[in-house]
Amino acid sequence: MTPNRLAPETVRQLYERHGPALLAYARSFAADRSHAEDAVQQVFLKLLRGETATPDAPLAYLYRAVRNTALNSRRTTKRDASFDTAERWFSHSGGNQEAALALQSSLAELPDEQREVVIMRIWSGLTLDEIATATGAPLNTVASRYRYALDKLRERLKPYRTSGATEN
């Protein structure tokens, strides 16, 4: 009896929708961008090949699997994650590349567990509940991590926010 597997079309949709956030997430664990890309691809290819049974919460599974794969790759290469500023993780919709670089370095400075909560919440649209499931951390812990992370980012990115968007 073959295990249930996600339809290839569903896997591709997940990749289209969450690939960028997962890449940014993997990038914060992997040694460099190519290792991060490999980690994301490996996880999706396993799903496509049906090597993984259908996860109950696919998005939570994806984040866990990408994190583990990126960490394994980092152990294999024996290189720490280096946050090279010449490498662009983000682009700004208004073309403010300086702000994009500031966001990138601000994210890099966050502790791993805070950074992952922000990426999951902002760029993958997960709820705090879903993040708690994905990370295995209690909901209150996840909420605290998110609050601390937002506060730090808000402070660091204050110079780059337009006057209309800046709150007092």
Partner: protein, 124 residues
């Protein structure tokens, strides 16, 4: 406070993470097998055709004139039995030599052909 966070979240969403490369597609195993089978069939047919063409071309090409003339000159029905040769050697040495020379044309390696390695050695 909630509104405060929401506005900041909106600001963060103005940034887009860079897109990964397109997902490397994986062929389904059955499709992969059919492709391998088709490739193997093509290689076999190509090799077979090549050998057949080379063989038929070789067979249809005429032999060099010198080879044709010697082949016609040698009696094909010559029997090289030990008893026959023994009798000839005792009764008619001259015919024995002639029979050996004629038999050598067909049964022994030739050294009078245009590309014969033995011929080259004999000249040396």
């Amino acid at each position: 406070m909630e509104n405060h966070d929401q506005r900041f979240e909106e600001f963060l969403r103005e940034f887009e993470p860079s897109r990964p490369q397109a997902l490397r597609e994986v062929l389904a195993p059955t499709q992969w097998n059919w492709q391998r089978l088709a490739a193997a069939a093509i290689v076999i047919i190509a090799c077979g055709s090549g050998f057949w063409f080379a063989g038929s071309h070789h067979a249809s090409s005429p032999a060099p004139a010198s080879e044709q003339s010697t082949a016609q000159a040698v009696p094909v029905t010559l029997v090289m039995s030990a008893a026959y040769l023994q009798r000839l050697a005792l009764e008619d040495p001259a015919q024995f030599d002639a029979a050996l020379a004629a038999a050598a044309q067909t049964t022994l390696p030739r050294f009078d052909g245009p590309h014969s390695a033995l011929g080259l050695l004999a000249k040396d």
